[in-house]
Amino acid sequence: MVSFLIRRVLQAGLVLLVVGLVAFSMFNFVGDPIDNMLGQERTQADIDRLRAQLGLDQPFVIQYWTFLTNAAEGNFGVSYRQGRPVSEIIAERAPATLELATVSALFAMSMGVILGIFTAIRRKGVLAHVIMSASLIGVSLPTFLIGILLIYLFSVELDWLPSFGRGEVTQVGAWSTGFLTSSGLKALVLPSITLGLFQMTLIMRLVRSEMLEVLRQDYIRFARARGLSERTINFRHALRNTLVPVITVTGLQLGSIIAFAIITETVFQWPGVGLLFINAVQFVDIPVMAAYLMLISVMFVTINLIVDILYVAIDPRLRT
């Protein structure tokens, strides 16, 4: 068990090092930032001064080492475009994305599992068929279209919910949260549904098929032959056995909720890191892109580590 954990942490570290190398090599291969930062009127002296200031005159290995040590301290340098430390910019934007991702992940998981169980148990029911057909639409419509449709219906026509932005935010230390005001909470509803809908349908369909598979197993038949109630059988015996594959997929999907929030953030003008990243790409703002890459990979790796630990927690057969 301990050796399993150590192995997994070492593997995670290796992944981060490789991603770090990719992020770092962007500095050398994606355009010359000096060109972008200094206008037409530059002199050779200006160029040399900025090059030295940004550390771009150092040899490759030293630059990589500096990058790594700085990254470990959360220091990703100065944004080429805004001229401010990247860590500061990210810290400003991250809470918006993380709150959006958390709410939509919770929405996707809870609704996905509940609907999945429902459609599996009432396999032949009318409502289950309706849900299954509706979920197909959910998967096939692209995210931006769902977002626009939701805005049209709930903001323009019904005027219930805001169509863009975070609403009022409260500052709690360095963290700006929308959870504490009613306008902040309202503003979360549409983007979270937009972002989580695809994951929800995916989780639902997965839970349903796993559940149907488990309900065919001998131990479910035996549980029924022992006279246990249907509720005990469905929720105590069957559900737990569906969790292992569901967790695998959910873990990967949670990562992509954060990583691919960009479209939703664009549609809803959400002031998160996704929007920041789009802007950074347009201006070849490499420090911001590198920091974003590192941030996302740390999240992916962490989530996968948690998934591995959850496996062991759920399935006793993996503990030996």
Partner: protein, 567 residues
């Protein structure tokens, strides 16, 4: 008073193409304290009877006529709530496979207490105490520790004991045991059957024992009911039915049981109901290449060793290894049938996989026809060897690729090993299919369209496709019914007689081994305990372990010997 009475039971499965009667007009009466055997081949409807009693028929199956009464009270046709209160409380069930009938993620203790609380409505503590008593009763040592363990920490036999404990939670009057020992080793099987006998005698529980194993029926049951294609063909006290079977089906079924005492020329086949058992061995022999017999043994194994990791550690010294095959050496002469027997986990299947190269060796050598074939670097030697050696696996359901047509399944080894163009392939496959008695039309079908016995014939055709000299048969019939088993074993005997094939025959079934093999090796925990000629092994075993194994064979003394092909 009769405990459980089944009268004129008919179970139907309606479908688009009319209704299929899984059971038609079956009668059965069970007395308290009686063990009543329900015997028949797969598809005879015996498990359906068990499921019908508990109201656990798979939809759309339903009882279309007849009545089931428990102590004169009708229980067929009760609503699902009333049925659920009966299940586990008055009537319990034990399933075939103890490895799959317990929930792998829930502790054994919790599974017991939840059942006890459901039926007896006692407190958690009382339930815990009762769970302890039950585990103790079914013979599980150290019950307090065992309650806190998960199913995977129990061996197969121990799990089946847990399943029995679960069935006993609420002092049931009737236990339906559906093939309770089929998945277990002989030694464990005997213990479980003893436990069931004790329970029936001591608590006056009525037991319906569903099985296809005549040995189990003869040793355990008081009365027996024989089913064939959904109908009861014969019923009566076990001694009478086994000793003087009246119905021709029962007679041929009993004749097909492999006997431990006498060696027969051929296995007697179940002839009732007109089955196609054709196997064109003469056709096959006509075009078979004549191997030039060489001096010395055909296959020679020296110091074979295989270890599997059971606990990996970052520090190499702390990893734990299981020695599955421990320094084994033997020779197999050309044209012989060499048997390996042993309990599950003894390493007999691993030996087969090591010889065929499916597992890399950890030590030792394999020589075939005088040439070293176990060197992984010598690709040419291995390639030639693989054409000469083919395998037939235990499970005919999982050893054929369900997404390939039979034509491609059989053609694959030919394509791999010869330069035959695809032009000649199809006639060659058709020829093989004809020879194993399936017919040309089988080539276009998929494996799921065949029965277990037919699939094993496909496996045999695949194994013969490269015209090998050596066949490894790993439990080739243990997943099959007694009648099908006889057909397949006769085919294997023919292959040896007419084609001069050498066979490595792995089995846990001693009567079958006695009929099939010339020499037999006994394995236990990866070691080879003894190696003797079959006759000598069965009459004068050298080791205590072999004696013990022989002692556990079903006696079958009372069985009718009518219709046997005695040598």
């Amino acid at each position: 008073m009769t405990l459980l009475n089944i009268e004129n039971l008919t179970v139907e499965y309606p479908s688009r193409h009319g209704s299929f009667k899984a059971v038609s007009g079956a009668n059965l009466a069970l007395e308290p304290g009686e063990i009543h055997g329900l015997v028949g081949e797969s598809g005879a409807g015996k498990s359906t009877v068990g499921a019908a009693i508990l109201g656990l028929l798979e939809a759309p199956g339903h009882i279309s006529s007849g009545e089931i009464t428990l102590r004169s009270r009708a229980i067929s046709g009760l609503d699902s709530a009333a049925m659920q209160s009966l299940r586990g409380k008055t009537i319990s069930m034990i399933f075939q496979d103890p490895l799959t009938s317990l929930n792998p993620l829930i502790k054994v203790g919790e599974q017991l207490t939840e059942t006890i609380i459901t039926h007896l409505g006692v407190s958690q503590q009382q339930a815990h105490q009762r769970a302890l008593d039950l585990l103790d009763r079914v013979g599980i040592p150290d019950p307090a520790l065992r309650l806190n363990q998960f199913p995977h920490q129990f061996s197969g036999g121990m799990r089946q004991r847990v399943v029995i404990a679960l069935a006993l939670c609420s002092e049931p009057d009737v236990i339906i045991a559906d093939e309770p020992t089929t998945a277990l080793d002989v030694a464990v099987q005997a213990q479980i059957l003893d436990l069931i006998k004790d329970l029936a005698a001591e608590r006056q529980v009525g037991v319906i024992l569903i099985t296809h194993d005549m040995g189990v029926i003869a040793d355990t049951t008081d009365r027996v009911t024989v089913m064939y294609q959904g109908q009861v063909v014969e019923t009566g006290p076990t001694k009478t039915v086994m000793g003087q079977p009246q119905h021709p089906y029962t007679q041929s079924l009993i004749a097909a049981v492999p006997r431990p005492q006498v060696k027969l020329r051929r296995f007697s086949q179940v002839s009732y109901g007109g089955r196609d058992t054709r196997f064109a061995i003469e056709d096959l022999a006509r075009n078979w290449p004549k191997a030039t017999p060489s001096d010395g043994p055909l296959l020679s194994v020296r110091n074979l060793t295989k270890k599997f990791p059971i606990a990996k550690s970052l520090i190499p010294g702390r990893s734990k290894w299981l020695t599955a095959v421990d320094d084994i050496s033997f020779d197999i002469n050309s044209g012989d049938v060499f048997g390996i027997v042993g309990e599950s986990g003894s390493g007999k299947s691993t030996v087969a996989r090591l010889i065929s190269g499916l597992y890399p060796l950890n030590g030792g050598t394999v020589h075939f026809d005088g040439a070293l074939v176990s060197d992984p670097k010598d690709k040419a030697a291995q390639q030639n060897f693989r054409r000469d050696i083919q395998m037939i696996f235990q499970d005919p359901y999982s050893s054929l690729n369900p997404r390939m047509r039979v034509l491609d399944i059989i053609a694959e080894p030919i394509r791999h090993h010869t330069t035959r163009n695809s032009h000649d392939l199809t006639p060659r496959v058709h020829e093989l299919l004809d020879q194993v008695g399936l017919g040309k039309s089988a080539a276009a079908k998929y494996p799921h369209e065949f029965s277990g016995g037919q699939r094993q014939r496909i496996s045999i055709a695949r194994a013969l496709a490269t015209q090998p000299r050596f066949l490894i048969c790993d439990e080739p019939t243990s997943a099959l019914d007694v009648s099908i088993q006889a057909q397949i074993l006769n085919i294997l005997k023919d292959l040896q007689d007419h084609l001069g094939l050498t066979l490595l025959f792995i089995s846990h079934d001693l009567p079958v081994v006695r009929q099939m093999c010339d020499r037999v090796a006994v394995m236990k925990q990866g070691k080879l305990l003894e190696l003797q000629d079959t006759q000598a092994l069965f009459t004068t075993p050298k080791t205590a372990y072999t004696q013990e194994l022989l002692g556990l064979m079903p006696r079958l003394d009372g069985l009718s010997t009518q219709g046997l092909d005695l040598r």
